[in-house]
């Protein structure tokens, strides 16, 4: 797939998403909002597993912390200002990622997988068992965040469509942010670390520093997703941080195609829609979901989006109208 076809497809998809609330019912607008949130979460993990080569199995911790920061700080507030709540969530998730990352990046391979899992479990159990933060019950929020300048409401998120566009804007910003840092010198270093960390160190880079920064960025972005989820549902609970969520997030990234930025978004659409509609087919829908994931790992390890270029190539070879012939991206 050339970058031109890719950008064109992405742009068309964006236009479709912008127009969607004009046609979709409130339920579907809410559903797609949720997909945006999950997509941001998956994108953040993709920075780690797809670009830096860090297989984190505890990424849900930062998602949860983003949500909890919002809920803890504002559970009794009558007005939640976005400009207060959002930075708070990002900072909390980023700080947690800094601590977890600082400890974890000393290890590698399976130990890294396990230590990130263990750290996430610590957060999970801390919130699960602490009576201060609602324990297993979680925390409810009764208001949605607003953006105010003076006393003027610029943006009120209690309207489903507003929230939809806000989440979409966050997703697009997150996407563009990642595109930017991956093109920047920083991105060159982390992708090289994924390819061959030892060599990068021999070339004179302190790789741990880059891995840590990547971990913190990913954690902060996951915190953004957690903030949105908390604000959208008005409810946070420890299961946001459970290792199942981390596992599902890995599934989303790989299902969509890791190491690409559109892959996780496609993956989020696939998994959330499956989670939503499979139960209508059968009570044992997790069996189907598990089967689908297994099939992808075995037969399509580069993810669903790796099919796109093949499909395009297929049609091109059928039509044979492209004067330049199929170009390899």
């Amino acid at each position: 797939m050339t970058s031109r076809t890719r950008n064109l497809s992405l742009f068309m998809a964006l236009v479709a998403l912008v127009l969607f609330p004009l046609f979709g019912s409130s339920f579907y607008v809410g559903l797609v909002t949720r997909i945006f949130i999950v997509a941001i979460f998956a994108l953040s993990l993709d920075l780690l597993i797809g670009y830096t080569g860090l297989v984190s199995f505890g990424h849900a911790a930062f998602f949860g912390i983003g949500g909890y920061a919002l809920a803890i700080a504002f559970q009794d507030a009558a007005v939640i200002h976005i400009w207060q709540a959002l930075p708070l969530s990002l900072a909390a998730a980023g700080l947690a990622a800094l601590v977890v990352g600082w400890i974890s990046i000393r290890t590698s391979g399976v130990y890294f997988i396990m230590i990130t899992l263990a750290m996430a479990q610590m957060f999970f159990y801390y919130f699960f068992e602490s009576s201060r933060f609602g324990g297993d019950d979680g925390i409810f929020l009764f208001f949605k965040p607003v953006l105010m300048i003076g006393s003027e409401d610029i943006l009120k998120l209690d309207h489903e469509n507003n929230f939809y566009y806000f989440a979409l804007a966050c997703l697009v910003s997150g996407y563009l942010f990642l595109v930017m840092i991956l093109r920047a010198p920083f991105g060159k270093v982390i992708t090289a670390i994924k390819a061959n960390e030892h060599r990068v160190r021999a070339l004179g880079y302190s790789t741990n520093g880059y891995k840590l920064v990547s971990f913190v960025i990913a954690g902060t972005l996951a915190g953004l997703a957690g903030f949105l989820e908390g604000a959208h549902t008005g409810y946070v609970n420890p299961s946001y941080m459970s290792w199942h969520e981390s596992g599902v997030c890995i599934a989303i990234v790989i299902l969509g195609g890791m190491g690409t930025l559109y892959g996780p978004i496609v993956g989020a659409f696939i998994i959330v829609l499956l989670q939503n509609f499979l139960p209508e087919l059968t009570g044992h829908w997790q069996l189907l979901l598990g089967g689908i994931v297994i099939a992808v790992v075995l037969f399509l390890p580069r993810g669903a989006t790796s099919l796109f270029p093949r499909i395009i190539a297929f049609f091109r070879s059928k039509q044979k109208i492209d004067p330049k012939g199929p170009t390899d991206g």
């Binding site: 339920f27 699960f128 324990g135 019950d137 979680g138 409810f140 409810y235």
Partner: protein, 403 residues
């Protein structure tokens, strides 16, 4: 209820059940969502109960009992046919909001029945309260559901955790146990039950030797039981349910503690678990608003009808589902099926006095049940009533603005 006692056969119920379920599947595809009122349009009843996971059996019994009640009434609510939209909640709080949204915004249900899990209940009620559908909670016990979250359109046919714990304290004092250890799963519901227990136990002159909250939903109790043995109390009051309850009762017996420490608990400790607990449960005393052996006509009828319709023995969850069905019937019959007459329907529901299998059931201003609480003991594998522990137990509905 006894007036329309038609004594349906099992086959009858199964057929109707199938028709209803098939209707559900078809209807969600073909029938456009409408707000139309009239005799022709079906009443939509959304059900959000767990059919998988730890609480699966509870969800299944609640649904089947409610369907039984509807089928006894000819599968009509105020003259209108019923359409069910049945969703598996998986008892996962994180999905509760999404699934409730599906029922309210996508399916536009008239009634919402569910859930089992308290936290799912909170997420659900938070969305439904106010202008959402009339909601009937057939199990979740969190105090907040008819406390701070109470709303005119939200009813509960089960219990609040206060009602579960509070009568326990006085019952144990009455049995002569003054030095008691509290052990419970350390999560919202467990903590609320323990707190309510102390509200009657401490003022009555009892002493809490120690509180041992154990991590939910973990079931390795050995270390805690050793601690319990070393504390040497007269008795222990517990809250555990499902797999935890089975394990606790068995470990307690295996540690030889039955000889020196009397085991009490909120009713779920032994409810419906006889087969799994076996001998270990003999002599365990629990406090609940229901007992299999209650000797009233409603219970005798209900138990045989439920057994006939589903093939399994009824339990407290089935009773709560059956009463949920009854409550919806009362409301719809009062307005002849006109779901638009909301205020009138709510009035009819909140003033209902139901002749439930559990005994007399009425509702408080916060729409929480008022009912008798029984002290029961496991004798020969059955939960038998020892005495009424609290007559017409009410709930303080802390934080509710409707009282």
């Amino acid at each position: 209820m006894s007036e329309n006692n038609k004594g349906i056969s099992r086959r009858d119920f199964v057929i109707k059940g199938t028709v209803a379920t098939a209707g559900l599947a078809a209807a969600s595809v073909f029938v456009p969502a409408t707000f139309a009122i009239g005799a022709q349009a079906k009443v939509k009843v959304g059900i959000l109960l767990p059919y998988t996971g730890t609480y699966a059996k509870l969800g299944t019994n609640i649904r089947n009992a409610m369907m039984l009640r509807f089928s006894e009434a000819g599968n009509k609510l105020g003259g209108r046919a019923i359409e069910f939209v049945d969703i598996d909640s998986e008892a996962k709080p994180a999905k509760a909001q999404q699934l409730t949204e599906k029922l309210i915004k996508k399916e536009h249900v008239d009634f919402l029945v569910g859930p089992v899990h308290s936290v799912v209940g909170m997420a659900m009620v938070k969305m439904a309260r106010g202008d959402g559908p009339i909601t009937v909670i057939p199990n979740a016990g969190a105090n907040q559901l008819t406390g701070v979250l109470c709303a005119p359109n939200v009813f509960r046919t089960s219990f609040s955790s206060y009602q579960m714990g509070f009568p326990g304290g006085s019952a144990m004092l009455e049995d002569g146990h003054k030095r008691v250890v509290l052990m419970y799963w350390n999560y919202g519901f467990g903590k609320q039950v323990a707190a309510a227990f102390k509200k009657s136990f401490l003022p009555g002159g009892g002493t809490i030797v120690e509180e041992i909250p154990t991590p939910f939903p973990k079931v390795d109790f050995q270390a805690y039981l050793t601690k319990l043995a070393a504390l040497k109390p007269d008795a222990v009051y517990t809250f555990y349910a499902g797999g935890g309850a089975v394990k606790y009762v068995k470990d307690f017996a295996a540690a030889g503690l039955k000889k020196s420490i009397k085991l009490y608990g909120a009713g779920f400790l032994t409810e419906g678990l006889g087969a799994a607990q076996g001998n270990a449960a003999e002599g365990v005393r629990t406090i609940l608003h229901y007992a299999d052996s209650l000797d009233n006509p409603a219970n005798i009828h209900f138990r045989s009808a439920f057994k006939a319709a589903t093939g399994v023995q009824a339990d407290v969850y089935a009773v709560q589902g059956y009463d949920a069905g009854e409550l919806i019937l009362r409301g719809m019959n009062a307005v002849q099926g006109d779901t638009g007459a909301r205020a009138e329907m709510i009035r009819a529901m909140e003033t209902s006095v139901i002749d439930s299998p559990r005994g007399k059931l009425s509702f408080s201003a916060s729409h929480n049940p008022i009912h008798d609480i029984y002290l029961r003991e496991v004798i020969k594998g059955e939960n038998r009533v020892i005495r009424v522990a609290a007559k017409e137990q009410d709930d303080p509905a802390t934080g509710c603005t409707m009282t």
